[in-house]
């Protein structure tokens, strides 16, 4: 009997683009070609409307008002916890903590798990391709609390060196592995399930920085057997100001609070306070209510399109871009991981990344140029910086062709 595997649902990019009002804008008189979504993605109408509607029709502070508006707003806010849990396939909604962004999520773990659970002499292990947000908090922990910081090398192809990674775990002193799930510079995915299995075998917990990965692929924290997973809303087509920490319930229970204040307490006297239950213990102060509601709309939006369709579209874009860029003499794509996504860093002989970015900008193309908040990785690669084009579900093949034509002209311009 033949098993018929249905092809992934096609993504109607022309229709999707109509969902993003900003894509109709012109820049310097040219249509906007936005290839900087890895820095922050544009927002669909559904997100914009959800936030406006919340503020126009259903807004009050949450978890405290004994009135209709507060109760409705609390429901809207809390329902996003369910959406995030579903997005990550987390076992429980109570394992979802809302933060400001990935950076705050990692700082929370560095503070509460790093100071509260890890013991001096233990180590945190990261990789050479971390964003500063998954490096600096661990440096601060190292310097203040005698926690060793280890750096797992990458190969020249831009993949985690698994042998070296395993060797760094071997002495059993690593208490936490904190690693990107997808590099914001090289586009490389890391083999999360294998990373977690090796970490656990060595007695370490594992945190994944999903800032990039969660945008492009379905993430299943149970399948990869993660202990912590963090991401930010604004790269996932949601608003700025809201991020997520997922962690296993027992870890959140054991960890001391991060910030103190309202909302995170059970009771307070002048002598003593007790903490609210997880996850509220980690949500001090009035949270980003409207932004959380916006994040909920963003999650609903991407899930309505489906990660199969998104991943297939972006894989096609990435293949197309890599082959078009390979045609340009003097252009070097940085990193060549087998498993990679739509984030492509490159250099062009004779042209500085900032000049590339300025010239592309003149034709409406937005790219990032510089060290991409990964200075040590740039040094590892022997580069001062790169230009970076990154793709989203609204990116078209024609935009990539336009980018390639412009880069060809820039090459001639500086030749």
């Amino acid at each position: 009997m033949n098993v018929i595997v249905p092809p992934p649902p096609a993504l109607d990019v022309a229709r999707i683009r109509q969902d993003f009002p900003i894509l109709a804008q012109t820049v310097r008189g040219k249509p906007l070609v936005f290839l900087d979504s890895a820095a922050s993605a544009q927002k669909p109408r559904a997100v914009i409307d959800a936030m406006a509607t919340a503020m126009e029709t259903q807004y009050a502070n949450i978890h405290r008002g004994l009135h209709w508006m507060s109760e409705r707003t609390t429901e809207a806010y809390e329902s996003v916890r369910d959406q995030v849990a579903a997005l990550l396939n987390a076992p429980s909604r109570n394992e979802i903590v809302f933060t400001r962004n990935t950076t705050e999520s990692i700082n929370l773990v560095a503070h509460s798990y790093g100071r509260g659970i890890l013991a001096p002499g233990q180590a945190v292990l990261i990789s050479e391709m971390e964003h500063h947000s998954n490096l600096v908090p661990w440096q601060m922990l190292r310097d203040a609390d005698s926690i060793e910081l280890r750096i797992a090398p990458i190969t020249d192809a831009g993949e985690l060196d698994m042998e070296a990674y395993a060797a760094l775990l071997a002495d059993g002193r690593v208490g936490l592995v904190a690693m990107t799930h997808m590099s914001n510079v090289l586009g490389s995915y890391t083999p999360a399930a294998r990373i977690a299995a090796l970490a656990h075998a060595a007695g370490a917990r594992v945190l994944f920085d999903g800032s990039q990965a969660v945008v492009h692929r379905a993430v299943d924290v149970q399948a990869i057997d993660a202990d912590f997973y963090v991401f930010t809303g604004h790269k996932l087509y949601g608003p700025t100001g809201v991020g997520v920490l997922w962690a296993r319930h027992e870890l959140l229970e054991a960890m001391p609070p991060f910030l103190g204040g309202g909302e995170m307490i059970a009771s307070v006297t002048y002598e003593h306070s007790t903490w609210a239950r997880v996850p509220h213990k980690f949500e001090a102060g009035t949270p980003a209510i409207v932004e959380v509601i916006g994040l909920g709309a963003a999650i609903a939006y991407v899930r309505s399109i489906g990660f199969d369709a998104i991943a297939a579209h972006e894989a096609s874009l990435t293949d197309h871009a890599l082959s078009r860029l390979a045609e340009i003499p003097g252009l070097a794509v940085i990193g060549g991981a087998q498993d990679r996504g739509g984030v492509i860093s490159f250099t062009l002989q004779g042209a500085h990344p900032h000049d590339i970015a300025t010239l592309l900008d003149r034709n409406g193309i937005a790219v990032r140029a510089g060290h991409h908040c990964a200075e040590p990785l740039m040094h590892r690669l022997g580069l001062e910086g790169t230009a970076r084009a990154s793709f989203a579900l609204y990116t078209t093949h024609e935009e990539i062709d336009f980018l390639a034509r412009n880069l060809e002209r820039i090459r001639e311009f500086f030749a």
Partner: protein
């Protein structure tokens, strides 16, 4: 395709960035400073020698950076040679005004050489590229070792 960007990348800028005449290391010098913009990775070390009267007898730089910063460094060296520190500071002030606003009322003869860089005023994120070599030179004259224009 890039005709309208010629306001910024004029031929004179491209020429100075490709072949900077003053990009050379002075082995003997009276003052030096390093200009560093860590956010973008641009770096410019300026070394200079003063004559007995206190004017700049020789000035050279070593730099890595974008076309704008290299051209600006070269034009800076060209226009500051022979000037006293006070004259360099005055010219730097005029130059900073030029790249921020795009115009100047100065009658300083060096301005004609620096005017091709006025186009950066349209690109706020690039102004610091043009001002970095000047910041380094001012730091050298002030006896500071490091400068930044970020």
């Amino acid at each position: 395709m890039f005709d309208d960007v010629r306001d910024l990348y004029q031929d004179i800028i491209l020429r100075h960035s490709r072949q900077p005449l003053h990009m050379r290391r002075l082995e003997e010098f009276d003052a030096k400073a390093i200009g560093d913009n860590p956010m973008c990775g641009d770096r410019c070390e300026v070394r200079l020698r003063l004559d007995p009267a206190g004017s700049i007898a020789d000035i050279g730089f070593e730099a890595r950076g974008c076309a704008i910063s290299l051209a600006s460094a070269d034009l800076m060296a060209e226009t500051t040679a022979g000037r006293t520190p006070a004259q360099v500071r005055a010219l730097a002030d005029i130059f900073f005004g030029l790249v921020r606003t795009g115009t100047t009322t100065s009658k300083d003869p060096a301005i004609e050489k620096l005017k091709p860089l006025s186009g950066v005023s349209e690109y706020p994120s690039r102004i610091k590229c043009a001002t970095l070599p000047w910041a380094a030179t001012l730091a050298a004259l002030d006896g500071a070792m490091e400068a930044s224009s970020e």
